[in-house]
């Protein structure tokens, strides 16, 4: 036993070292963004030139960027609400009911997950063109709903599978209507899943580029705006400042989301 204990210790020691190297690989590149966003020079190269906050000042004065940000927020909020809304019912159908066509339906709804995004973008682009509809934020929103729904369904299904079906049956047996059962039993129990789904969809939509690139025309979202800026070297430090702010923003969002969810679902194995 002592022998295995020693071996196990050294094994976990190696793994800890590997994880540390992995974390360096993950973090060093993105940390260049905040580092050079305070650098007083246009070129992103060593040596550093000195400290400045002027890129941030430029950023806050940039109206085109503010407009793109507002567009992205609108689309992301709408997309997360719509896809989560549709997904709640579908996830319930998949986890609660046994019926003919369930597998087929599940496969079809999950399809956007197994298609490269650019294919979805192009097919939507072509049909919108063929129907003579205008490209804009609504078309981006539609693409995002398609793209987010499978993620929402996965999150919600795993939550629904986790709770006891008999709670709903008890409520029905005790004379509560199906609607009230949903409102008073299912909904509160699914709430953490709904919140995770909303946050996940929001983040996916907010960061989504390819669909927005094909479907947005003149009303750009934030990633499409950033893409446009990447071509101009002089705009680079400002983009880095923006990236740093996004980094801070998502950090706060993710940490908040995880603290709400707590340790649940992370401690099953021992």
């Amino acid at each position: 036993m002592a022998g295995t204990a020693v071996r196990k210790m050294s094994g976990s020691g190696w793994r800890l070292a590997w994880v540390c190297v992995f974390l360096l690989f993950l973090y060093l590149p993105i940390m260049l963004m905040p580092l050079f966003s305070f650098n007083d020079g246009i070129y992103v190269a060593f040596p550093l030139k000195g400290f400045t906050t002027k890129w941030y000042a430029q950023l806050f004065a940039n109206e085109a960027l503010a407009h793109a940000l507002v567009n992205s927020l609108k689309v992301a909020i709408a997309a997360s609400l719509i896809s989560t809304g549709l997904a709640i019912f579908a996830a319930k159908a998949f986890t609660r009911y046994e019926f003919k066509g369930r597998q087929l339906g599940y496969g079809l709804i999950m399809a956007p997950m197994i298609l490269p995004e650019i294919m979805v973008g192009i097919s939507l682009f072509l049909i919108i063109l063929a129907l003579g509809l205008p490209l804009g934020l609504y078309t981006v929103l539609f693409g995002h709903v398609l793209f987010c729904m499978p993620f929402a369904i996965s999150v919600l299904s795993s939550r629904l599978e986790g709770f006891d079906k008999s709670l709903e049956e008890a409520s029905l047996d005790l004379g509560e209507s199906p609607l009230m059962t949903f409102w008073r039993v299912t909904f509160p129990l699914t709430m953490p899943g709904i919140v995770s789904s909303l946050l996940l969809c929001f983040t996916i939509s907010f960061d989504e580029f390819i669909l927005a690139f094909f479907l947005s025309s003149t009303e750009t979202t934030l990633p499409v705006y950033i893409w446009g800026q990447l071509r101009f070297p002089a705009k680079l430090p400002e983009v880095l400042a923006l990236g740093s702010l996004i980094l801070v923003g998502t950090t706060i969002l993710i940490v908040a989301a995880q603290s709400i969810r707590g340790e649940e679902g992370m401690t099953q194995g021992r």
Partner: protein, 311 residues
């Protein structure tokens, strides 16, 4: 749903038929119709919203374009071009190789990390989890672009090495090649592999491992005989979750690939942009969808057989 549908469903689902008699009839009647009713809004959105466009894409792939006029006479000319011109075959091959390489590397890098999370971390699991997934949530565009900055002619590596005095002239081979695409894809998708592998490792019943140890397995034997086979579903999921989006990635090859590192998505996009040949772009899209699906299905089939043999 009609009565006919529900009756058929009742026949098809013996599980539902075994319900207790009292409320059973009521439930039996509603099981299938409720399922369909709940599923249909999402299903309809996908079938109309994605099925329709894909049919459109398919139609386009059989048409031809003269400047801005579309000729609707059906033809296989686009597919003939896709399948016979070496440039397209090369790009397909390159995309598959780069994506497969990046996927394999990512899974290899991430497996020990997932193992660490599932078995070694006892306290503050959530903190580790957040720490590892956090970079993934920042803008994908900027994470990719960072590598252009790192590898560029006047980039971080070159200016750093020059500063230290190791090189006189910037190294030009770092950026704009397939390797840069591969490296950046590994970076961009690393976190994605951890979750599915972690979930399948975490599910493993710890008593199996104790039993193996008690019966005299060494830690290495125990890993290959129990832990690894049981984690295969997660590994397979990780492969698919990374291969499918990376093979169709547009951003990374566009930013760091250069002419020799372009992948299928870039070629397709150019048909809808500069090259302005929508039908050819559609044929390329359909072909790559078919190829990706075949690879994914083949991979799942193969790994099922492997899993059956060792599991």
């Amino acid at each position: 749903m009609t009565a006919l549908d529900t009756d058929q469903a009742a026949v098809a689902t013996p599980r539902a038929a075994r319900r207790p008699a009292g409320s059973g009839r009521q439930l039996l009647k509603t099981e299938a119709s409720k399922g369909w009713a709940l599923m249909s809004p999402a299903l309809l959105t996908i079938v109309v919203g994605l099925g329709g466009p894909i049919v459109m894409l398919l139609l386009y792939s059989f048409w031809t374009q003269h400047y801005i006029e579309i000729d609707h006479t059906p033809t296989f000319a686009n597919y003939q071009q896709v399948l016979t011109q070496p440039i397209y075959l090369n790009v397909f091959l390159r995309s598959i190789l780069i994506a497969a390489g990046a996927t394999l590397t990512t899974v290899l890098i991430c497996y020990p990390v997932a193992y660490f999370l599932a078995f070694d971390v006892k306290k503050h699991r959530l903190v580790w989890m957040v720490l590892i997934t956090l970079p993934f949530w920042t803008s994908y565009l900027l994470r990719v672009f960072t590598w252009k900055i790192i590898l560029g002619y006047n980039g971080i590596i070159n200016s750093g090495l020059k500063g230290v005095g190791l090189i006189d002239k910037p190294l030009e081979f770092l950026l704009y090649n397939p390797f840069a695409v591969y490296l950046t894809l590994v970076y961009g998708w690393a976190t994605f592999a951890i979750l599915p592998i972690f979930v399948s490792l975490d599910k493993i019943d710890r008593s199996y491992l104790e039993a193996a140890t008690d019966l005299g397995d060494t830690a290495v034997e125990r890993f290959w005989r129990i832990t690894f086979p049981l984690s295969l579903p997660g590994v397979i999921a990780a492969f698919l979750v990374i291969f499918i989006p990376t093979v169709g990635d547009y951003v990374t090859p566009q930013l760091v690939g250069g002419p020799d590192g372009l992948m299928i998505a870039n070629i397709i996009q150019s048909q809808f942009g500069k090259a302005n040949n929508f039908p050819l772009g559609a044929a390329l899209s359909i072909t790559s969808m078919v190829v990706v699906t075949l690879i994914a299905v083949g991979f799942v089939w193969m790994s099922r057989r492997v899993t059956e043999r060792i599991g």
